[in-house]
Amino acid sequence: MEIIFVPIDYKRVRIKNFKSLENVEIGLEKLNVIVGPNGSGKTNLFEAFLFAKSTVRPSIYPPYPFSYWWGYKNMVYMHDISRNVEFGVSGEVKTREGVLQSFSYSLAVNGAGEKLRIIEERLDGGSFRITRMGSELKVYLHKREVSSYEILDLRYSVFNLFAYPAKVFDEERGKWRLVLQANVGLLNGPPQVLVELDEQSIDALVELYGRLFSDVYLLKFSSDRARTPSVPGSIIGIDGYGLFSVLQEMYSGVGPEKKPEGFLDYFLDRFNIRLRFQNTEFQTVLMKLVEDGLEVEPQGIPDGYLKAMAVLYLLDLKPSLLLVDELENHMHLKLIEHVISAFRASETKVLATTHSPLVIDLAKPEELILLYKRGRSTEARRTENPEALKAELAERGITLSESWLYGSLSDEI
């Protein structure tokens, strides 16, 4: 049996000055259905996670997380570059032994002059804490300062300023130690931070340090991009590019072994679909689909099938958090029911934006995050009394989507 291990439980998120999100704080449930009219900030909420991930875990070096928005000015609230964009998250991290530890992480960034500067950052894992303010970084244990550094390059987060942490056992003292190796080109100070902690706290910090935001996956699906033949070995991009390559790795015996009985396998079996792969003369991979014995060329593969495959592939990777923008796009009710059932059956927390009644009616009131625009700012709220709302809707024969479109959830805070 495959062991399910989802180490980080993201419980709350706070976003400031990101596009229309001037100041938004939300708690995260197992399934979070983000609803709101066009322009209310649904995609901005999705993209705020993209911004945080690409700042903390950059895919290019030196980091420049503003390129997706064509510059800092376009992503900061009201185009006011004097403001810092802030993102904070808190929750619990679980070790492989199942021990839980609370954590919080936050950062404030400014990009005036199109130059990335991390102004403030704070990683809090129980008795261990790293804080930075400007170019000064300090490490605390039990609220006592144990190390301080000068940051030489403000573009890098603490996850880059220190190498991946190590857990070592001090034979002489009979105690566990956490070792953080300073990146000498980025930090001026002691070569390493060395602190004594109990073993569980070290394990939790190692998980947190290794996984925070790395285990957050995002999908803003484009069927054209997903359908594009991709280079073998590609990973799947935010728009779905690389889907053919990752599926070829999974189903053609190239790369990692096929995952047994995952959500994607279930989907393929249920819709009686088989996948065939072909390497092109341009060294790319294209995928064909065999449905009821009939081979379908890439251009003929239904968009909804590609979308469902991308979502379920990501779910099979067991991220701690999966965000899907405009979940309903391309998918018929049958596929939406399938994907939402998979979300509920998985260990992954999911955030999905939508304005589709089909999606909303598969949700519970407590799973909705309602977004509204007040002036130029997005406001977010949960339903206040979900159980009472359920009873009221059942009594009156009104669906959740009808309540959102025309009723008590429509536009009131």
């Binding site: 959500f263 059932s341 998979a342 059942a394 024969g397 669906t399 959740l400």
Partner: protein, 161 residues
């Protein structure tokens, strides 16, 4: 050929019930949609469906099954075409806990008040999406012998929709 519309909480329930229904009666067409247990969408599906029989599957999760059935009936009636239509085409199947109790009973496992899915999870690493895999292996004779009420009602409804 007669048709049956099933309403379940998720697609894993749908696939499970469809397979069980086909094992009971191969001469019916079975459709299924998922809808939240509390949702008036269940009433909408009942009203819109032209199936000869609509089976609403609902977990009582250890609540009073009769109360759960009354709640479902109220939701369905709210959107139904007529009272007569409800009497003629609707069957509500209430599980004491959840559908996994058929597996537990079929395998003659003891649950002693635990949630059936949790028992299966502990014994064989069961996950929700595994539910349909058990449908071909259910021992109907054991379920009948053990008088599993939800199964007996489901079987009776499917045999003569």
């Amino acid at each position: 050929m007669k048709s049956i519309q099933i309403i379940s909480e998720d697609i894993y329930g749908c696939d499970f019930f469809k397979e069980v229904a086909h094992r009971i009666n191969r001469e019916v067409r079975v459709f299924c949609n998922s809808a939240q247990a509390w949702s008036p969408k269940r009433g909408r599906i009942f009203a819109a469906s032209n199936a000869d029989l609509v089976i609403v599957c609902i977990d009582a999760d250890a609540r009073d099954p009769e109360e759960v059935e009354r709640e479902q009936l109220k939701i369905i009636k709210r959107s139904a075409r007529s009272e007569q239509d409800v009497e003629k085409r609707l069957k509500i199947v209430v599980f004491s806990y959840e559908a996994e109790e058929w597996i537990i009973a079929s395998m003659k496992l003891k649950i002693s008040g635990d949630k059936p899915s949790e028992v299966l999870r502990g014994k064989m690493g069961y996950e929700k999406k595994d539910l349909p895999k058990y449908a071909p292996h259910l021992d109907f004779n054991v379920l009948r012998e053990m008088s599993v009420r939800s199964f007996i009602e489901f079987e009776k409804a499917v045999k003569d929709p």
